[in-house]
């Protein structure tokens, strides 16, 4: 943790007032190491921008060919409420703030098969009648 070899730089910093956040491109230099974990990047960014790491959401990290440099995006929200409102559900799920409720696999398949028997808008009605 906090190895001097891992350097984080931010590019194209922008304050997005409409969505109550700050967004930037993050360049991570980690020569001789594997790609850095997102949690560590969040902590580092938190210290850089003086926020708690829980309002920081980073995604899209791609390591360049040959290793050593990774580029990704980071969003820092003003408050967690705004984050919950504006961030897509899958990214909230990564932080554990959202749970996708879906029925068991068997139920889903049964519903699909029941829907196959009906045509058009009646398919939605079929799903409701789970027996």
């Amino acid at each position: 943790m906090g190895d001097a070899a891992v350097t984080i730089r931010t590019r194209k910093f922008m304050t997005n007032r409409l969505l109550y956040r700050r967004q930037m491109i993050v360049d991570v230099y980690h020569p001789g190491k594997a790609t850095v974990a997102k949690t560590e990047i969040r902590e580092r960014l938190g210290t850089m921008y003086k926020t708690t790491p829980d309002v920081i959401f980073c995604f899209g990290f791609k390591t360049q060919f040959g290793g050593g440099k990774t580029t990704g995006f980071a969003l820092i929200y003003d408050t967690l409420d705004y984050a919950k409102k504006y961030e897509p559900k899958y990214r909230l799920a990564r932080h554990g703030l959202y749970e996708v409720k879906k029925p068991s696999r068997k139920q889903r398949k049964e519903r699909k098969n029941r829907q196959k028997k009906v045509r058009g808008t009646a398919k939605t009605k079929v799903g409701a009648g789970k027996k």
Binding site: R11, K12, Q23, I25, F59, G60, K62, F65, T71, F73
Partner: protein, 372 residues
């Protein structure tokens, strides 16, 4: 004072007969008019709500006739007609009547219809609907059944309300109908020329004859260069829009190819530079020559030596930059003994020794003379 008149007896008899005729006709007309007047007074025929145009017309006619009779009266009394205001009135009335004539023609149909209804008495003479055109007469009687069935569907559709506009499912295609066949050919040739100019062969030539200092740069092949440009473009898009685009299988393969060094093909394959060759035979070909097509010609004729020692394969035709070399080769071909045309020149059928010697002097070359 009586003016002296040359009156013959014939004229007098004619005048008297005319006068009798006039008086008879006048009496007949007066009887007729009096009968009509009686009818109007009794209320048998109504004169209200008539066509006012006709009213004006007959009033004008009446005034015209009165003026005419006034003139005749003056003439019969022996007075002069010069400068009389009656003539002016007559002329005025006459012009108005003439102007009214085309209008009269136009309303003739309606007037006839009115008269017909009045005489036949089927419908009240002032029913306006009688004078409207009848569109049902345009529909053919045979199609009556189909139109009735369609009518129901149309009503249902209209009842649903304004329908949503559905654009036609036609895929967008590039429109090149404005270009003629010649223009298309020219474009193809232009593209081939551009491609030929940037080929490795021409580039090497340019480096050879260029006076600028030589640059040594790592030059990737066209596919790798293309890949790098596309990757750069995608990178800029992703960073600008804060989004990561999904990677398709094709892109993954291209990436794999782009990151390796696959330049072996460049060593063995040469580009087609036939577009740069300035030849008249190019027009005979309808489609531009394919890249690997080997056409029968001087290039595949193995009796000739290739111009450049390094290249063995340079397309179906000679490249234009080797113009000097091709000229040399062409002359060589002409001078060669195996050329049948040349043999005839050297050995004419007349077999005159003088001409032979002249011919051989003119050639100035070490051409093979089979006679000697």
């Amino acid at each position: 004072m009586h003016a002296s008149l040359d009156v013959s007896s014939d004229d007098l008899s004619k005048v008297s007969s005319l006068f009798k005729g006039i008086s008879n006709q006048v009496s007949a007309v007066t009887d007729f008019i009096q009968s009509i007047l009686k009818k109007v007074e009794n209320g048998e025929s109504k004169t209200s709500k008539g066509i006012s145009f006709l009213d004006v017309k007959y009033q004008l006619l009446l005034s015209y006739v009165i003026d005419l009779t006034h003139l005749m009266l003056m003439k019969s009394e022996g007075k002069k007609l010069e400068g009389d205001k009656t003539i002016e009135r007559l002329v005025e009335t006459r012009t108005v009547l003439e102007k009214m004539r085309p209008v009269d023609m136009k309303i003739r149909y309606q007037v006839d219809k009115l008269i017909k209804t009045a005489t036949s008495g089927e419908i009240a003479p002032n029913d306006p609907r009688r004078f409207k055109p009848n569109p049902d007469n345009l529909v053919s009687k045979l199609q009556q059944e189909d139109s009735e069935e369609e009518g129901d569907d149309e009503d249902d559709a209209e009842e649903k309300g304004p329908q949503k506009y559905v654009p036609p499912k036609v895929s967008a295609m590039h429109f090149d109908g404005d270009l003629t066949v010649q223009e298309k050919k020219d474009r193809l040739i232009e593209k081939a020329k551009r491609r030929a100019l940037s080929s490795s062969l021409i580039r090497e030539l340019r480096d050879q004859y260029n006076e600028e200092p030589e640059e040594i740069a790592e030059r990737g092949t066209a596919p790798t260069r293309r890949f790098h440009e596309a990757a750069k473009h995608q990178q800029e898009f992703e960073e600008g829009n804060f989004i990561r685009l999904p990677v398709t299988r094709k892109q993954k393969n291209l990436k794999r190819k782009g990151e390796t060094m696959t330049g072996l093909e460049e060593l063995t394959k040469f580009d087609n530079i036939s577009a740069l060759v300035d030849d008249s035979k190019g027009e005979e070909r309808d489609t531009p020559a394919k890249k690997n097509e080997q056409q029968p010609g001087p290039a595949t004729d193995f009796s000739l030596t290739p111009p450049s020692p390094c290249c063995t394969e340079y397309g179906p035709k000679y490249p234009a930059d080797f113009a000097e070399v091709t000229k040399r080769n062409r002359l060589r071909e002409e001078r060669s003994s195996t050329n049948p045309e040349r043999i005839e020149l050297v050995n004419p059928k007349g077999n005159q020794e003088n001409s032979l010697r002249e011919e051989s002097n003119v050639s100035k070359d070490r051409s093979f003379d089979p006679n000697q």
